[in-house]
């Protein structure tokens, strides 16, 4: 029994040692932006020497603890959970060999404080090259209105995307309008007021600007990381996504998707998302 316990302790130590080895980070810059107005924050930039920036499409930093040398916590409790942010890629392929850099965002320490005693957390890295099912590119997707888009990466991640046809829009409008009418009626509304409210609801939900597309997305495991259009020259157009009541609106703010464009869906999978623990200590403040 003692031997087993001893072996477990050894294995646990080895695992911990591996975690420490993974957490190698260098502090490259500290920016304490102090403001009497907006956007006050402390930003510590970390470099992960073992990971090439060219392999990382997006990243975020999840901080579990951060204290300065007065013992005050520097975690901004009012900020929401950080989202994955795109990692800028230089057009120069050699630059992709440089280590990836991430930003740890914290609250400003007091002026009298001279050091950040310790910051702990994890860097989440989205690395599409680690999984063949990371990117789904569907050519000439506009011709597939009314049908689910077919791609092995979407299927592997349990994602379904369907462009809604005009007939489907009319049917959805009726279905959602009826459901809303029932809800408003139960709240005591009736007559012209009721109809006016139902019309306002459906008009808002289905209102589109030129170039907008209405789609239905099923993504039970929240695998979709980002959606873009790719034009015939390979130029990537960012798509803004707005979800409401089971409908999703794709907008490009002015650029109307063309018949020869592709839909590009980037997907997060267990294989392409890596979390690297880190700890930095005694970071001198500028």
């Amino acid at each position: 029994m003692r031997k087993i316990v001893f072996a477990i302790v050894i294995i646990a130590t080895l695992i911990a040692a591996t975690a420490v080895a993974q957490s190698d980070v260098n502090v490259t810059q500290v920016n304490d932006r102090r403001s009497s107005g907006h956007f006050a924050q402390l930003v510590i930039r970390l470099e992960l020497p073992k990971i090439k920036t060219g392999d990382v499409a997006a990243s975020r930093v999840l901080v579990s603890s951060a204290v300065d040398d007065s013992g005050a916590s520097l975690i901004d409790t009012e900020a929401g959970e950080p989202q994955l942010e795109q990692n800028y890629q230089s057009p120069d392929p050699d630059m992709g060999k440089n280590p990836v850099s991430v930003a740890v965002n914290l609250k400003n320490p007091a002026r009298k404080v001279t050091k950040v005693k310790e910051v702990r957390g994890e860097v989440e890295l989205y690395m599409p090259s680690k999984d063949a099912n990371s990117i789904a590119e569907i050519p000439k997707f506009l011709s597939m209105s009314g049908k689910s888009l077919s791609h092995k990466a979407l299927k592997a991640n349990g994602v379904d995307i369907a462009l809604v046809s005009p007939q489907q829009i009319a049917a959805e409008k009726k279905r959602l309008g009826d459901a809303k009418r029932k809800e408003y009626t139960a709240s005591g509304w009736s007559g012209d007021d009721l109809e006016s409210m139902v019309k306002t609801y459906t008009d808002d939900l289905f209102q589109t600007d030129e170039g907008d597309l209405l789609v239905k997305i099923t993504d039970p495991n929240q695998r979709i990381q980002s959606i873009n259009y790719v034009d015939a020259t390979g130029d990537v157009k960012h798509v803004s996504r707005n979800d409401a009541d089971g409908m999703t609106k794709f907008s490009t703010w002015g650029e109307k998707p063309q018949p020869d464009w592709k839909l590009q869906v980037s997907l997060k999978t267990p294989k392409n998302t890596q979390r690297v623990p880190f700890v930095v200590r005694d970071v001198a403040l500028p």
């Binding site: 403001s35 009497s36 002026r111 403040l285 500028p286």
Partner: protein, 314 residues
């Protein structure tokens, strides 16, 4: 006369200095002493210009390629400001309460049109000590008031018919050339960065102790800036001259046949050494009889108002 007004916010300190020395100066000063601080707000409204802190950003950076700075945004208060077309802050001295000198040695900033950013002015100082809590700034607010000097406004009728010949702005001692597209293209070509220029950047970088990475970044930046010198769009008005002359031009307007200014969608000035090029891109092609109106920063058209203020650091 100087009256110090402390506002409700702890960091906000107003300092007020009269701009004109009149025969009644002594009487006003005496009155100021008698009435003390309680009368200060109305005194500002009547006879002077004051500076009020609007926002303070202490952008502190660790050692590296980027350096930190203290960015201040101020509002001007008082009467007479409506006559000013532009304003700027010139810092004479700035120190934090640890004695660190914060005034930079860079060129004076350009005048900011009064209609920009709700009339606020921005200026930069060096990064104060972390242990500092307050900064004291001494300087002047400079106003550009073209109505004070007839030579500050120069109109050149039928200017577009005078291409590639020097335009002398009489009384203002400024000479500029309105360029044809051909001459402008030739001037751009002459400004291309050569291998010799790059060698010079390398040599200067090394002399200043810059790393190879920093030097390559500087060369990349110079090339990127060169890329901005592109062929101007149709209808653009192109001017060339000495940088020192352009530094004295506050604004150039293109006047249509009706004598009214044509909206200018974009304007830019780029300099290489002492040579400068200015591009004005009107939203409508100017008529053949368009005039140019120059607003020149003459000595008489500028009013300097000293100020002092304390700034509480965030």
């Amino acid at each position: 006369m100087r009256l110090t007004i402390r506002g409700p916010a702890a960091h906000l300190v107003l300092v007020f200095v009269t701009t004109r020395r009149s025969k009644n100066m002594r009487a006003v000063a005496l009155m100021g002493i008698v009435l003390s601080l309680s009368a200060s707000t109305s005194a500002i409204a009547q006879s002077g210009v004051g500076v009020e802190v609007d926002e303070v950003i202490d952008n502190r950076m660790s050692d590296g390629m980027l350096t930190g700075s203290l960015e201040l945004r101020v509002k001007l208060k008082g009467s007479g400001l409506e006559k000013a077309s532009g304003a700027r802050i010139l810092v004479k001295d700035a120190r934090d309460d640890r004695g660190t000198a914060l005034a930079g040695s860079s060129d004076p900033p350009d005048f900011t049109p009064r209609e920009y950013n709700s009339g606020t002015l921005n200026f930069s100082l060096k990064q104060p000590a972390r242990a500092a809590s307050k900064v004291h700034v001494k300087g002047t607010v400079e106003l550009f008031v073209p109505s004070r000097d007839p030579a500050a406004t120069v109109k050149v009728p039928n200017a577009l018919s005078k291409l590639d010949q020097p335009l002398s702005l009489k009384g203002a001692n400024v000479t500029l050339t309105l360029m044809s597209r051909e001459k402008y293209a030739a001037a751009l070509k002459a400004r291309k960065i050569t291998d010799k220029d790059i060698e010079q950047i390398r040599a200067e970088g090394k002399a200043h102790g810059a790393s190879d990475k920093e030097i390559e970044l500087a060369i990349g930046l110079a090339k990127a800036m060169e890329g901005l010198d592109s062929e101007p769009p149709e209808g653009a008005v192109l001017l060339s001259g000495k940088k020192s002359d352009f530094d004295r031009i506050y604004r150039v307007e293109i006047l249509g046949s009706d004598g009214k200014p044509i909206d200018i969608g974009g304007r830019s000035t780029s300099s290489r050494g002492e040579d400068s090029l200015m591009t004005l891109q009107p939203s409508l092609a100017p008529p053949k009889d368009a005039a140019l109106q120059f607003y020149v920063l003459t000595a008489k058209s500028k009013v300097a108002i000293p100020f002092e203020m304390d700034v509480q650091l965030p």
